[in-house]
Symmetry: C2
Subunit: 111 residues, 2 copies
């Protein structure tokens, strides 16, 4: 089944402040880093990120990432797909994703 895409900002409406606020959190940065590392940009289930937090909190974090324009969330009803908005991000903030790649992906030290 094709799910419906939850809304986020248009490509050229991405806000740098919202992006930095989104990436300021350890868990969200972990998600983005993992997404950026996969150059094939496959859609992923949101359980594939091994986040050590409850599912309600995960819902919150994915929403923040979507509202910052960093990911698409595809709603299938009883599961959800996550996809990096790589082209939009690169267009508006070239080099940003490369910065994430430079960090060790598993390095999720406490803040």
């Amino acid at each position: 089944m094709t799910g419906k895409n939850l809304v986020g900002p248009e490509a050229d409406a991405l806000d740098l402040g919202a992006v930095f606020r989104a990436l300021a959190d350890e868990h969200r940065r972990s998600v983005l880093t993992q997404l950026a590392a996969d150059r094939s940009d496959n859609e992923r289930g949101c359980n594939s990120f091994a986040l050590p937090i409850s599912k309600q909190t995960q819902t919150h974090h994915f929403r923040v990432l979507r509202e910052a324009g960093l990911i698409d969330e595809i709603d299938y009803g009883n599961r959800k797909g996550i996809r990096l908005r790589r082209a939009d991000i690169e267009k508006r903030f070239p080099g940003l994703l490369a910065l994430l790649g430079a960090e060790p992906p598993g390095d999720t030290a406490p803040r």
Copy 2:
């Protein structure tokens, strides 16, 4: 008089999480954006940024920027100089400063 440089992290110890957290705040981002816009990297007084907040709060924000490794603070006793750590930032996070430059400098919209 030569002032003494307040301590921040070494160039290769800059942490991306700390940097994103520092740049997540509107006022701190404004400071960095203004600094990044001046390619001559002159030292500036910390009153030259026109921040609409009290001086105690400014002290706080400059400290966060310094502890993230983004600026040097030079203490002259009764005044303070601010200098962008451009080379260190570019070395560790190439392209980061360019992202700030892409935003309109005076665009400090409420969050």
